[in-house]
């Protein structure tokens, strides 16, 4: 009789001890962070590490040979004219798309932070492109830009800007294809930027603008001298998010143009995918991907600096 009783006591002690273990912050904290850490290491950290290793090797998908070749892969990559186009495109698309976004997002931010009937409906409508997966929205745009079924062509035809018989091949002409990709990138990163800027605008104390009004400033002076400088830090955040989303994206190009016509709309993301996965040259695909790294690292540093600064009004 005495033995089971003793064992039971021990069991109770154990549960009590475990219970108290969870009350301790140094145990509970890491425990709750663990899922995120595992996710980040397994799905972001490790692949990144592999990319670095592959880029210095001659790995392909077709064989299991693996030799370190130093910078040879990089030399081959840089010499490739398609890569040069892709690198230039990535930078140009990002800069143009984000420049468009920042102007439109500021206007939208003002619209969203204003008080009017049906505000919620408009907010939902504006957020919609952001909630839609890239692949899905790119498919929708593919139809919109189709040379036969494009509603743009139909509208242009109705107002007699183009001849109904010779529709515009939006994705078939270099410059139009580039414009289409940039438009898609701007369209899908606009909502988040607009919402970020709306939050920024609402965080500016209204009496600052009222004070400026009493001080004799008109709309434009208030906008450029008070609102914009106070909005600048948050605008920076919006731009950084936009850069990350546009610079690394491959889905838009992959679905809309496949990098074409020719390689006119090729970007680092898509070219890395075509070379590394479809072309089978893992090493070169990885090396192409590496070229995104300095920009993303820079963005990360700026973001972290921004996050650690407490610059309250």
């Amino acid at each position: 009789m005495s033995e089971p009783a003793a064992r039971r006591t021990v069991i109770i002690d154990e549960t009590v001890r475990v219970h108290h273990l969870l009350d301790r912050e140094e145990v509970l904290g890491p425990l709750m962070l663990a899922p995120l850490l595992i996710y980040l290491v397994a799905l972001v950290g490790l692949p990144l590490l592999f990319v670095f290793i592959y880029s210095f090797s001659d790995a392909t998908t077709g064989s299991d040979t693996f030799n370190f070749v130093g910078l040879e892969t990089f030399q081959k990559t840089i010499a490739d004219p398609v890569f040069q186009v892709a690198l230039r495109n990535t930078v140009v698309f990002t800069v143009i798309a984000q420049a468009v976004v920042i102007v439109l997002a500021t206007i939208l931010g003002f619209v969203l932070s204003a008080n009017f009937r049906g505000k919620w409906f408009v907010r939902c409508l504006i957020l919609l492109p952001w909630t839609t997966p890239v692949a899905l929205s790119a498919l929708a745009w593919l139809w919109m830009l189709d040379s036969l079924f494009s509603p743009f062509n139909w509208i242009l035809g109705q107002v007699h800007l183009i001849d109904q018989g010779t529709p515009v091949a939006w994705l078939g002409q270099d410059s139009l294809a580039v414009a289409s990709v940039v438009a898609l990138q701007a369209w899908r990163t606009l909502p988040l930027a607009a919402v970020i800027l709306m939050a920024g605008l609402t965080s500016i104390p209204p009496e600052l603008n009222e004070q400026a009004e009493v001080d004799g400033a008109g709309f434009w002076r208030r906008f450029f001298d008070i609102t914009m400088p106070l909005l600048a830090p948050i605008m920076m955040v919006a731009i950084l998010f936009g850069i990350v989303a546009t610079f690394t994206d491959m889905a838009a190009v992959y679905i809309l143009t496949r990098g074409g016509p020719g390689d006119a709309t090729q970007v680092l993301g898509s070219w890395s995918f075509y070379t590394g996965i479809q072309g089978g040259s893992l090493a070169q695909g990885a090396a192409i991907g590496i070229f995104m790294f300095p920009v993303l690292l820079g963005v990360c540093i700026l973001m972290l600096r921004r996050a650690s600064r407490t610059d309250a009004f």
Partner: protein, 341 residues
């Protein structure tokens, strides 16, 4: 410098009752007018309408004899200091002060001259290169005043400019504000819920409640001859005592009370029988809490007696409250308005 006049001004915000419900008021040339009232009484809304930041739903506003209805704030030649001071956080003190001048399109040399003059007047010349967040509360207030002063407005509008300062600083800031206004002599409308500020600063005080004007007068008039029971109990600390007798409300200030064990009947004074509830010693004064029998049952009142006066009663004692007739104010029991004795 200019006279400010509001005529039967009204403001209601979507549906509900009016925030400002028909107020007529004049602030004379160079006068220091204080708008006093509890929060939500409409005083800030009234000030914002004068500034042009709110549009009145009715009535008219005149500055310097000319209607400013429909004019934007920048066309009204007013300066305003907000409760938060609303300094531009990204600009140095110097740029903050010169902002109204830039908006006017004044030349750089003139601006520098003006900023020097205004900052000298307020003793902040050494702070010009700092950012607002590097300033103390009192320094911020002075910067805000300098910015208001620099363009030589016709009217100063101040919205609770002292409420963000700690109690110690507030007394000295009050003195500075008053001296400053006397020196520049610009008509000033000052909003506050603090009766001490109102009494200390105002040439005249306008007491507001529920969007309506209760009384306008000098601090003495407001204190000694309140127009109704609201003013009587809002101004003064502790407030005026109100006791119901002969169908009227009899009001008297706590410091006008004499306490005796038995007073007998007096020709020159009113006598109320009471019971002492509690005596508080506050250093210079004593507060004596008393319960008085009146027409409507029991009423609690407070007597404020100088500490060096001998007190012949203790807690739980019966005592007679004596108030000289000239200190008595009569109010209508239903309307609360002052009536003749």
């Amino acid at each position: 410098m200019a006279e400010v006049e509001v005529r039967d001004i009204r403001k209601s915000f979507g549906g509900g009752s009016a925030a400002v419900d028909g107020i007529s008021l004049t602030c004379g040339n160079g006068e220091y007018l204080v708008l006093l009232g509890p929060s939500g009484c409409g005083k800030t809304t009234l000030l914002r309408m004068i500034a042009g930041l709110e549009h009145p739903t009715g009535g008219d506003i005149l500055i310097g004899g000319r209607s400013v209805r429909g004019l934007p704030p920048r066309a009204r030649k007013i300066a305003m200091v907000f409760q938060s001071y609303a300094l531009y956080p990204h600009k140095k003190v110097e740029q903050n002060i010169s902002f109204p001048l830039e908006a006017q399109g004044m030349s750089r040399e003139e601006r520098i001259e003006k900023v020097k003059w205004a900052s000298g007047l307020l003793g902040i010349g050494h702070l010009l290169q700092r950012k607002p967040r590097q300033l103390s509360g009192g320094e911020r207030q002075r910067v805000a005043l300098a910015r208001a002063l620099v363009r030589e407005p016709q009217v100063f509008l101040l919205d609770e400019p002292l409420s963000n300062l700690d109690a110690k600083l507030r007394a000295s800031a009050r003195l500075e504000l008053k001296q400053f206004q006397q020196r520049v002599g610009i008509s000033t409308i000052y909003v506050t819920h603090d009766q001490v500020e109102a009494m200390g600063l105002g040439d005249r005080i306008a007491v507001l409640n529920q969007g309506r004007l209760q009384q306008v007068g000098t601090p003495e008039e407001i204190y000694h001859r309140p127009a109704n029971t609201f003013v009587a109990t809002f101004v003064g600390s502790p407030p005026m005592n109100l006791v119901s007798r002969d169908g009227k409300l009899v009001g008297f200030r706590p410091e006008n009370i004499e306490l005796e064990k038995t007073a007998g009947s007096r020709d020159d004074a009113a006598v109320f029988h009471s019971r002492v509830l509690r005596i508080e010693n506050l250093g210079a004064d004593r507060y004596v809490y008393l319960r008085v029998q009146d027409d409507r049952g029991d009423t609690n009142i407070i007597a404020k007696l100088p500490i060096d006066h001998p007190l012949h009663v203790a807690a739980e004692d019966d005592a007679d409250v004596i108030v000289r007739k000239r200190h008595l104010r009569m109010f209508d029991r239903d309307s609360g308005e002052e009536t003749a004795a």
